[in-house]
Amino acid sequence: MDKPLIPKDEFPIFRNNPSLNFLDSAASSQKPESVINAMDEFYSTTYANIHRGMYKLSEQSTNLYEKAREKVAKLINAKPNEIIFTKSATESLNLLAYVLEPKSYAVSVMEHHSNFVPWQFMAKARKKPISYIDIDDEGFFRKLPKAGLYALSAASNVLGTINNIHGLCDEIRDNKGISVIDATQAVPHGKFDVKKEGCDFTAFSSHKMLGPTGIGVLYAKEGILDNAKPFLFGGDMIKSVSVEGTEFSDAPYKYEAGTPPIAEAIGLSAAIDLLEKTGMENIRNHEMALTKYAMESIENIKNISYYGPKDPRKKAGVISFNVSGMHANDVAYFLSAKNIAIRSGHHCAMPLHRRLNITGTARASFYVYNDKSDIDALADALGKLNFR
């Protein structure tokens, strides 16, 4: 905790802005040089479209893309054919909302809008019942209702609450339901094993785990999408096309229509290399120590209250808080003047803020390049906040 888990000088942004205290990784992480270089090298030496080229460059490009799929699969203990590349976690969840047709839905009030709005919209459009899963004051899910599909987050992007996904997926399976887990705030920050958790679907994004924007991941348990309809139509997702009709490929290719985010997959692959070299358990422990230290530091500052679990073992590296008498935006503006980057607002979780009876929060979130000095800078600035 005294120093970053991955040195700041491995990130060009910190070399260019050495005094930056970046505490907004729950929104998006910074990019290490290894990721930038991997994408640059690919574009400079190997770039070609994948899958249908007989020439060497296309073959190399295809190999790199498919190796990225293997690497993602290994990270979460899945098989490569269970990994679908999308443009974002949001698209992964929208894809599912479109292709899955359950008899009823259950969505938690704590979800990011990307795991809330698609289900709400589809339930209404298809005239199917939807129920909302309440939380306790720390963000732990209350009793699950009976439903055909459950959309739940592994870790809250606002409260940081880490729910017991393994137990929930067991319960969902007992209810004969399908589990859709938004692991966007979980996969980048610790070991996440889809087989151990027992979920049917898991979505996460690259840009929150040191990788580039423009690529998301959807884990779909083998065979579960065999009879589901495609999402987008076009090249690379077909077996054959004729005027009589079209036969579609199997997953994952059925859900990767058109030219995919090739360079982004290669960037993600480089990010995973660095994360695995660092160690997912080490990352979790580092963030837990930072979170504990941040909670202790903030607790002592007058007029500040924070939300979510008080036990750092049950909390991801996210602290949302409010300063009495100050709008969260203003807190963020003032911190920005001290080169401290935090986020403010509802963090794409309006139902959660309504549930907590607050309009918005300021949020600090931590990652591998943060250390104690970032928290000290935050606490020091928060202690001096006022309009004078």
Binding site: H327, N329, D330, Y333, S336, A337, H346, F387
Partner: protein, 126 residues
Amino acid sequence: MADTDIYDKYVDIFNQKKHFRKLEGSDVISADSYVSCADNIRVYIRVKDGMIEDASFDKVSCFVGVVVSEMLAKDIIGKPLSYLNSIDIQHVNRLMGVDVTQNFQMKGCAELPISAFKEIAKKVKK
């Protein structure tokens, strides 16, 4: 002007705001929200003989939203109702002496009271 300079320049207006209140007996109320920062502003006006006799605002907003609401409320009092049609972001820039459009978030916060006051004008016409 840096973002924080706006705070320095308008801190007195923020702290001594005179129009942050519910306007009893108001003719028209309009509310609008800015989804990006969860702001929600409600504005009130009282009209007599086509002139804006009083104006105010309440609910939740950040510093920029409050300052712009306060300045607009003060600005429109004593003006004909049709004056509301002329207020826009450039008008706010002139009032403040700052180009708030330079900061995307601040622009959104400043546009919130503009849109709420303009909505009032539409309601009155109906």
